[in-house]
């Protein structure tokens, strides 16, 4: 296949006929450029969406309660619903196989003071699994564990920014702070990929909070991390089941949207997935349309080019060129031009995308637009095939022209 002389012939034919080569290459380069930009921009959109969900684990289901909005079983509207430990246990026992992580949450506002510094922060009293559901990153020390819960230990894990607020550059781990009159030991410091507020939160064992704030077994919220083996539809069904079962258990009307609400990330994911799917289908349609237009463009130009070269082929034939050699030469030239031009379009497109970078993130929700190497390889293969087709058909026809006819052509 690698025939240096053939390549030399082709390079000469390309370089001595620059206008012709550039013309053939242009359509392809342009098509690929458009394709690259299109794909890159959609990837950018997709990145923005992925980012939006990066804060929490993708497989979360949140259960929250409020007041009833419908009478049910003789109970009145406006009844305040309260989740308790037994509801948490109910979820834990009933759906064990479908749950990867499980935690309760109690919300409180607290005032932390240390030496002469103090400030107000949000407190979340949770189970150890909360770390995984919130994707909390422990920078120093450790997170809450089962023993802390059992012992109702007066320990807290504080966000990175609380540490900065109160301790500045000084070490905070192991220090005791005063929180609403009670002394707590800092056992960990964390950071979080979400916004800054997420890093101004205090975590404490759910049991400690229940003991100290009212001495009851109330919880504000239950967070479930469903088993990642569930597909989106199964996960949505699971969320619906939790909702139905808990409503029944708490005597809530099945259609009461206010008393108990289940927010299932699977539903959001499915929506986003569908949206992105549609977007990608659109891009593939538009993209392949562009590519096909490029292929048709180069085919047309190849037909023109070959017509222009008919006489040259006649001369070559008179000198002993076999049809296969003419076809091979044209096809190879066509493949070379399409590949080079396509690559040029691709590189230019990628370069433009890199220039755009994150500058469109604010206004157009396009973050880090780029094309994957899979796309690049796919496009390159398409180009080579395009060059093959674009070159082969007209070349075959040209090679079939009798030399005497070809020689007479101008």
């Amino acid at each position: 296949m690698f025939d240096l002389d053939r390549w030399r012939e082709i390079f000469q034919s390309i370089s001595k006929n620059k206008l012709r080569s550039v013309m053939s290459g242009f359509t392809v380069a342009f098509a690929i450029l458009l394709f690259t930009l299109l794909f890159g921009v959609v990837n950018g959109l997709s990145n923005t969406f992925k980012e939006a969900f990066a804060d929490d684990a993708m497989n979360s289901i949140f259960v929250r309660v409020w007041k009833t909005s419908k009478p049910y079983k003789g109970l009145q509207t406006g009844r305040r619903i309260q989740l308790k430990n037994k509801d948490y246990d109910f979820v834990k026992e009933n759906y064990e196989s479908k749950i990867e992580h499980l935690t309760a949450r109690i919300y409180r506002n607290v005032n932390i003071s240390y030496k002469n510094k103090q400030d107000n922060y949000n407190l979340r009293a949770v189970h150890p699994d909360h770390q995984f559901l919130e994707k909390t990153i422990v920078d120093e020390g450790r997170y809450l564990n089962d023993r802390d819960l059992k012992e109702r230990a007066k320990v807290i894990v504080i966000g990175r920014l609380i540490k900065e607020d109160i301790f500045g550059e000084k070490p905070a781990l192991g220090k005791r702070v005063n929180m609403n009159g009670i002394s707590y030991k800092i056992i960990g410091i964390f950071s979080d990929d979400g916004n800054d507020n997420e890093e101004r939160i205090v975590y404490m064992p759910v049991t400690t909070a229940q003991m100290l704030y009212g001495n009851n077994d109330y919880i504000s919220q239950i967070n479930v991390g469903y088993n990642p083996k569930l597909n989106l539809d199964q996960a949505i069904a699971f969320g619906n089941k939790i909702e139905r079962d808990l409503k029944k258990k708490l005597d809530i009307h099945p259609d009461d949207q206010s008393a108990l609400r289940v927010r299932n990330m699977a539903e959001a994911n499915k929506g986003v997935g569908q949206f992105m799917g549609i977007l990608y289908v659109l891009v593939i349609i538009i993209g392949s349309g562009t590519l096909i237009a490029g292929i048709i463009g180069i085919s047309n130009i190849m037909i023109f080019v070959i017509k222009e070269r008919t006489k040259e082929f006649g001369i070559r034939k008179a000198l002993g060129a076999q049809p296969s050699s003419i076809i091979g030469m044209v096809v190879q030239e066509s493949v070379l031009i399409t590949t080079l031009a396509g690559y040029l379009g691709l590189s230019f497109g990628t370069y433009l995308l890199s220039l755009i970078g994150n500058s469109l993130e604010e206004d157009y929700f396009i973050k880090d637009p780029s094309v994957s190497s899979g796309i690049v390889i796919g496009a390159t293969i398409t180009l080579i095939l395009a060059g093959l087709i674009a070159g082969y058909l007209p070349a075959k026809r040209a090679a079939r022209i009798k030399p005497i006819v070809a020689l007479r052509a101008d």
């Binding site: 240096l4 002389d5 030399r8 012939e9 000469q12 034919s13 001595k16 006929n17 006489k311 040259e312 006649g314 001369i315 070559r316 034939k317 008179a318 000198l319 002993g320 060129a321 076999q322 049809p323 296969s324 050699s325 090679a399 079939r400 009798k402 030399p403 005497i404 020689l407």
Partner: protein, 231 residues
């Protein structure tokens, strides 16, 4: 070398067909220097193209170097042309983007000769036609006579059995015509068969045998003074 018996050729023109060659019998032996004369449209080029395997005949037999030419596919024809035949055209037919040297070397490329060897041999033949100094010029930088000499060098470079020239001097003035004819004569003197089309009596007179065509038939076939002189 070339043996033709009762050769016919027609060209379809719309529904009709134009009968151009109407039963040609011709035998050219190795080493002959033959010219074909005849008015325009008498079928000279048609005959030469058939002999050169650039076109196919309809009827009759054609033997090239003892081989019956029949139902040749393009590939076989290309191989035979490359091996046995060298062409010189009235309009030179050089490839415009190749230098004189590259044009001369091209038939050797199709013969599968290595690049080094090709360029070396091509240079020898350019030297032979007196154009060594013009090797790296493009055809557009050469005069008509020079172009034709490049074309002759190209026709000779594969050492063919027969050189076919269709009005090689048709586009040249009388001085360059003479130099081109001298070149063909030299080639013939070296033993190569040369077959020239012309409609100039002076050109024909420099060959050794003149075949006259009229309306697709041979009306005369005689040796020239040159032939009797050299014999």
């Amino acid at each position: 070398m070339i043996e033709i018996k009762n050769l016919h050729k027609s060209y379809p023109i719309g529904k009709d067909s134009l009968h151009v060659l109407k039963g040609i019998d011709l035998h050219i032996r190795e080493g002959e220097f033959v010219s074909i004369m005849g008015s325009s449209g008498s079928g000279k080029s048609t005959l030469l193209n058939i002999v050169g395997l650039l076109d196919e005949h309809d009827e009759g037999d054609y033997y090239l170097n003892g081989q019956l030419i029949k139902n040749l596919n393009e590939k076989k024809a290309a191989i035979l042309r490359n091996k046995f035949l060298g062409f010189v055209f009235q309009s030179f037919n050089l490839i415009s983007y190749k230098t004189a040297l590259e044009n001369v070397a091209l038939p050797l490329y199709y013969k599968g000769v290595s690049r080094r060897e090709r360029l070396k041999t091509a240079m020898e033949y350019l030297d032979k036609v007196g154009l060594k100094d013009w090797a790296n010029h493009l055809p557009s930088e050469l005069s008509g006579g020079q172009k034709q000499r490049v074309a002759i060098a190209r026709a000779l470079v594969t050492k063919p059995k027969v050189v076919l020239a269709d009005e090689p001097t048709g586009a040249l003035d009388s001085t360059t015509t003479d130099s081109v004819m001298d070149l063909l004569k030299d080639i013939n003197d070296e033993g190569m068969t040369v077959f020239v089309i012309t409609h100039e009596e002076e050109v024909a007179a420099q060959t050794k045998r003149v075949v006259r065509l009229k309306d697709g038939v041979i009306i005369s076939d005689e040796l020239t003074k040159k032939a009797t002189q050299s014999a």
